[in-house]
Every structure is written in structure tokens, then in C-alpha cells.
Symmetry: C2
Subunit: 506 residues, 2 copies
Amino acid sequence: MNQTVGQALEYVKKVLSEAEMYRQAGRALMFDQETICPKKAMERQGEVAAFMDNRAFALVKDPAFEKAALTLYEGREELGEYDRVMAELLHRQYLREKNITPEKDLEYSLVFNKAFVDWNCAREASDFSLFAGSLEKVEEVQKEMISLREHEEGEEPLQLYDIMLDDYERGIRMEDLDPIFEKCRTRLGDLLEKIRKSPKKIRTDFLSRPVTDAQQKELGEYLLGLMHFDFERGAMTTTEHPFTEGIGPDDVRVTTHYYPDNFASSMYSVIHEGGHALFDMNQPRENFESFIADGKTLGMHESVSRFYENRIGRSREFIHYIYPELSRIMPQVTEGVTPDEMYEALNEVKPSLIRTEADEFTYTFHIIIRYELEKEIASGTLKIADAPQRWRDKYTQILGVTPETDRDGILQDVHWSSGFGYFPTYAIGNFYNAMYYNRMKQEIDISAALSKGDLTPVNSWMKEHVFAKADRLSPAQWITDITGRKLTADDFLDYLEEKYSAIYEL
Amino acid sequence: MNQTVGQALEYVKKVLSEAEMYRQAGRALMFDQETICPKKAMERQGEVAAFMDNRAFALVKDPAFEKAALTLYEGREELGEYDRVMAELLHRQYLREKNITPEKDLEYSLVFNKAFVDWNCAREASDFSLFAGSLEKVEEVQKEMISLREHEEGEEPLQLYDIMLDDYERGIRMEDLDPIFEKCRTRLGDLLEKIRKSPKKIRTDFLSRPVTDAQQKELGEYLLGLMHFDFERGAMTTTEHPFTEGIGPDDVRVTTHYYPDNFASSMYSVIHEGGHALFDMNQPRENFESFIADGKTLGMHESVSRFYENRIGRSREFIHYIYPELSRIMPQVTEGVTPDEMYEALNEVKPSLIRTEADEFTYTFHIIIRYELEKEIASGTLKIADAPQRWRDKYTQILGVTPETDRDGILQDVHWSSGFGYFPTYAIGNFYNAMYYNRMKQEIDISAALSKGDLTPVNSWMKEHVFAKADRLSPAQWITDITGRKLTADDFLDYLEEKYSAIYEL
């Protein structure tokens, strides 16, 4: 490595390590805001978090830093693998933020913070009008931020919604998703019709048997333990909307919620978030040393969380394995219920209103609805004020159910308070994991491992093939690296067809 | 106000308001570190918090700020009451920190952070040797920080332990405390002898009846509600060692712990911390606008928390009032128990090992033991390495009980990980609140209010007389302002004598 590049590397890492102090504080403050922070302090807490992020932003906007980062980028071929990725990420970020001053950045952050606080109040009151103003502001700011970006030479101009998609899943375009979602709608729609007509009766009465918070907590801890979640490097607590926050290399937190009459909701939230956590906990240490731990996309992340939630957690083998422990912790739930009845109940297909509570089968429809709405909003054909009605119409049309309140409709998800484009990553994640599940089973007897409740081989495979390079490859490179194939929904659709044909005896 | 002072005021507030962002982040991070932060991330989390405090420190060490603060101090007679106090606090702080660079300050913070982490591990392992090295370092740093201070002209030189005391309770000296504690030892010692010989049998078997976390949580929330704790501006969670953290003007958090066989421990932790919280929640808004909310001393704070814990929470009227609700929440605890039996059990006098679990009567002895040890450490006659044995000897000699482990001995309290001099404030707090209780009862029928479970008159009196000026007066001025008298333990000792003579039928 030549001396200039070496010095630039040292300087860049010194500054990034200071920026990381602020970012870690920001993440911890956001976690606090969403978990324990009292209502009247939420906005202030978010402002402090935004201030922290802004300090980090100001550090990388410093001309001396920008110069060093450019030197690194130009000399990137001399760098090691991790540092090269860092140099590329910094350059990408530089182009995006070149025309945004720290003052502007703070202003934007405060808009998103306010939107989060307003969404929270609106949701509680089930009144979209309390959120509409903030959401309009979010839309405006997101567009403004995009319009201020610089581009690489020779980069093709994109449509607005493609840019939004790209921000959450690098390289994904509407032209990829449109045919995939169309196929899903057709194949899943046909299958749903058959399921509806199936004489098979699935018993679900026991799912709503009363459970205590303490029982649900114990079950959650048992499940995380089974997944090899490291409690010395992580924690579990509660929030209305479950999420995972990687605060630092040894600090990954998951949240869940406890409903008194729905143990499965908390159970699958824990497994889902536990999957995110395993991804964060098992990434290479070098990611932190080269500050690229944010390189993994949401699609990658959701593929992992939904892999554990559905492919592992909703499998017959897994449910049979945990059944005795479930009975010990919640005897009232399993009384008079066979393991197979439990398996079927936890896989019942039933169109419903709430995405996070949806079964694995109808889940994709919830994403398609949001994808279509986001496209309309981005193209300007749908006004924010008209979105709640459009939401209701879409649900009625696509899933045959109509939300009676905003809380059960457009206000159910937090995501839009930080912008549009996130939702498709959930479906993409499902497509990815179905692809790598098929690859994994060529090497591992997954079914045998699950029957013994031993996740070691699965976790090791995930660590080696799925986690290791996620921060260094684009999503397209990554899925090809794992499976040798390009993104397709076929594996996912085949899997659903096989599984649900069996359950519903089609 | 002349223009220079006016400009200085504006500038100082602008900088302090930025510093407050960092300080708030630091407090929230410390709260996080002590509550949910996973074990392996604790040290890092503390480092981030220390970094935040250090950013605030660097802002007030800036020459331009120091100059403006000096202008304010010199022109303080032109300022309003709150801003004048701010100018004085800043000047006091300036003298203390004049010779400490931001680099030094960060180094010190990291020593305290490491000490906290080590104390935690040592306590868990019940092995003082894991903490000894850090504690020696704390002692060294505390002495070094003191040696670097500048003093006001004409200020009398103080002995080391007097300075440590002064840091926690401004104006308090060994020459004040020695005779007071001597009197306590004599009067309480004699009384304890009588209690020991009393034929009165107090039934306590039901105190260790099994309770669930959920029951204790419900009781805690009920009690905080009764105290008018504002849940929209505060929160409750759990830690091994209960504490209160005022994170911001609308964000005051209390913690408690749940033991499966000791509901009273959590109950009184909640009331105690709830008292601290009421103090923070009900201070004048101007305190925040003038950045003087830290002006209140620990003695003042402990007077309030122990007022609610003991004078309210352990009174016969209060226990009778809450009895039906206690029975509803924990029927297994109150079964076959009369309210009077409950009152007596919650006031049983019994020498024990753990300060925070001690009864109101023997509590003072725990403080005297720590006071004597701290004096010996400060004067150099006791080495840290010999402290655990000295601790055991003192407990044997003064309370007649001997800890068998470090965990039940010298490792029980977190305080020394941030320096020596804190403990006496607990006893001083008791002396203060006994004095103002006597003043309060001249104006309010406290007994009648408690019998109705209505804390409104008590809280209002506290707000007006105890809370309102706490940040603007020295402890000596403050207690005289409330009671017209100087600090004395007489009210406290008379109260104990009367109360416990009745209970033990002496």
C-alpha cells in the first residue's frame, strides 16, 4: 500500500471510530425512545438522538475527511477486502450527501422524529389525521433528499420509486418486482381459492387461551436459547411493535409484545427478531473494524428473520420438538391438543388485517398491497390524504377483508414515518430464503436437525454462507454467491404450494 | 441589565443547551447500562456515555465560554434569581475544573466506568479482589481531582474527607457529623438494647410468603399512582440495585427489584425511588431553563425519598389505607393477617447485613459504619485491601451481625465505584425530613390525609416548601428556610423513640 493511502486509511478509521460513538449513542437513544421512554419525553429523546446522528454526519462532511475518503476510494484496489468495501460505501455515501449540509441533515432527522412521535399518537387514537401532516412532510423530505443526490458518471437515471426501492434493497427495480409480484398474485390467488374450498377443518380454539406475560416471557427466553441467541451479548424486552436493534458489536436487542390471548404472536415475534439478532451477532468482527456492518440490506436481513420464523419456527419438526416444553410452560394452552393440531393451527391460512400477525401464506398479499400503494404515492397519483381509503379498498379487493379502523389499517406499521420503499424487502426476503433453504438442504439434513431441536448445523451453514459476505456483496451478488442463481419467487411459491397442499389435503 | 451581561447570558445559555444534549444522552446511556444493557457490552456502553459527558465538558472548557461565564458571574447581581444561581454554579464549577483538561476528564470518567463494571462482576462473584484494583484507582483519581482544584480567595483549607463530604452535601463537615452520629449511637444504642429485651413478639412469617413478579409490579404501580407519580413523564423498570434517574424535564425513571419471597423489599424501593422522582418531577421549570436542576444536594434528595419511604410509607395510617388493595393484589400474603400485624411486621427492628433492606431504626448504624470506614480511608489509616475485614469487624461490633460473604458485606453498595463521601447524605436526609415533618404537621393534618390515602396536601406542601428552592439554596439555608432551625438529629431521634416505644411497648 502506498504511503498516502495508508495515511488516509488511518485517518478515516480514526474519524469513523469517533462517529461510531455518536451513532451508537443515537441507536441506544432510539431503542430507549421505543421501549421505556415516557410519552411526554419521546419527542425530546428523539431530538437528542437526531443531534447525535448529526454529530456523526458533521464528522464525515468535514473536508479533510472527504479528501481522505476520496484518496481511499481512488486507491481502493490496494486495500484489503473489508477496507475496500468501506471505501466504496464511503464514496457512495459521499455522492448521496454531497449537497446536504449538517444543518439540513438535522432538519430532516427532526422531521422523521416528529413523524414517529405523531404516528405513535395517531395509532393510539386510531386517527390517521393526526399523522397525515407529518407523513406529507416525510414524503416531501424523502423526495428532496433524493433530488439533492449526485450520481456516478454513466449511472442511468431512475424513476423515483426505483430510487426508493434501491435505498432499501440495492439494485432492485420495479421491472424486477412487477412480474414477480404478478406471479405471486396469480399462483397464490389460485391456491387460496382451493384452500378456501377445502373441507379440511383446522382447530384453532386453543390459540386464544389466556396466557400470562410471565409464561410468554419464559417461552420467549426458551426459544431464543434454542436458537443460540447469546444473552451475554443481547437482551429481550417488550414494545408494541417488535423490532431488533444492533447497538454495538456485543449488544443486539430484540423486542416482543405480550397479548393475553395470543401466545403465538409473541412466540413468532421472538423467533423472527431472534433471526435478525443471529445475523447481527454472527457477522465477521472485521465488519466493525471496517465500519461496514450496515452494508447488509433489509432484504437480506428479512430473509434471515423470516427463515427462522417460518422455515424453522413453523415447520412440523420444530413444533413437535418444542411441544413438551410449551406444555410445561403453558399447560393450559396445550391441554387436550396434539402436536399435529398445534402445527396445523400455527399454519392456518386466514386472510386478515394485520401484516405482522398474518400467516405465512397470505403475508405476501400484505406486501403487494403496500407495494402498490407506495408506487402510487411515489408517482403522485395517490395523495396522502386519500391513502386510508385506498388502503381499505386494496384490502377488500385483494384479501377480502376490510379494516374498520385506521389502527387496523394504514396506521398499523411504523415504517412510513421514516420513508417509503421498505415493505417489498419482506417479500424479497422470503424469496431469498426459499432459494437458500433449497441449497442448504443439499448439504444438511435440516429435518433431522430440527427433530432433535439442534440448530447448530443450520446456524453454522447460515453463518458461513448467508451471514459472512452479506456486508461485502450487493444483494444480486450475494444470492448468486449462495445459490448460484438469480432472484426468483419460484422456490418460495413451490414451497408454499407443497406445504399448504399437504395441510389442506388439496 | 447591561449589554455585555445580556450577551454573555444569551451565549452561555446557548452553549449550555448544547451541553445538555450530550448530558442527557450520557444519562440515558447510563440508565441503559444499568438496566437492559447486556453484560459483555456494559463497558463499551459506559465508554460511550463517558464520551458524551466529555463532549459537554469540552464545551464549558472552551475559553470563549469561560470568559462569558466569568462576565456573568461578575455581573450576577443584575441577573434574575435563577440565572444568578446558574452564574454562581458555573463559577464554582470553573474553579473546580480549571486545571482539568478534557483529556484528563475523559480518563477519569473511564476509571469510574471501569470501576462500575468491575464492581458488578465482583459482586456477582462475591469476590472483593475483583474490585480492589479499580477501587484503589478510584481513590487515587478522587484525590487527584481534589488536589487540582482552585479555591475562592479567603476560602479555608479543608481536610480531605471534609472535601469529599462537601462534594455530596455542600457545607457539611466532620465536625458537624461527629457529635451528631455520636448522639445517634448512644441514644439508638440504648433504645436498641431495650427493644432487644422487650417481651413483645412481632409476627413476620407472612413477609416471606411467595409472590410473583407480576404481583409486585402491580403493587408498585398502585403505590406510584397513590403518590401521584406522573406515568406520562416517568417510567418504572427493574434493576438489582434500585435507583432513580432524571433524564430530562419530562423523563424521570425509577427502578425496583422483585424478590420471590420478599414483597416488602420491592414495595419500599418503589416508595423510596418514587420520592426521589416526585422531587425531580415537581421542581420549577425555571431550573431547566437556567440549567440549575443539579443544584439540589444528595442530602436534600435522600430526605425526600426517605420521607416518603418511612414517614409516609411505614406509617400506621398508610399501611391501613393500602391494606385492602394489598390484599386484592397479593391475597396469599395478607391471608390471616390483620392490618396492625402488617404495620408491625413492616416496622420490625432487626439488626441485619444489607443497608437497603434495613429497617428504619437500625438504618443509621449502617451509615455510621460506612462513615467511619470512609474517614479511615480518606485519612490513609485504612488500606483498600484491608477494608473487607474492617467492614466485617465494624458490623460485628456495632450491629452484632457479621457478613459471611463480600456480597453481603463490602460489595453490597455501588456507591464507592464513583468515589467516597456519599453515604452520610442518607442519614442527613433522615435528620432533615424529621425536622420538616414536624414543621409540616403544624400546618397539615398528615395523619388524616394518610388515613384517606390522599397525598395531595402533603405533596403540595413538599412542592412549596421543600422542592421549590432546593436548587437555589445551600443545604444550611434550605433547611433553615423550611423549618427556621439548623440541622439537628433531635427530631429524628425523638420520632424513632416515640414510634418504637409504642410498637415495642417499652
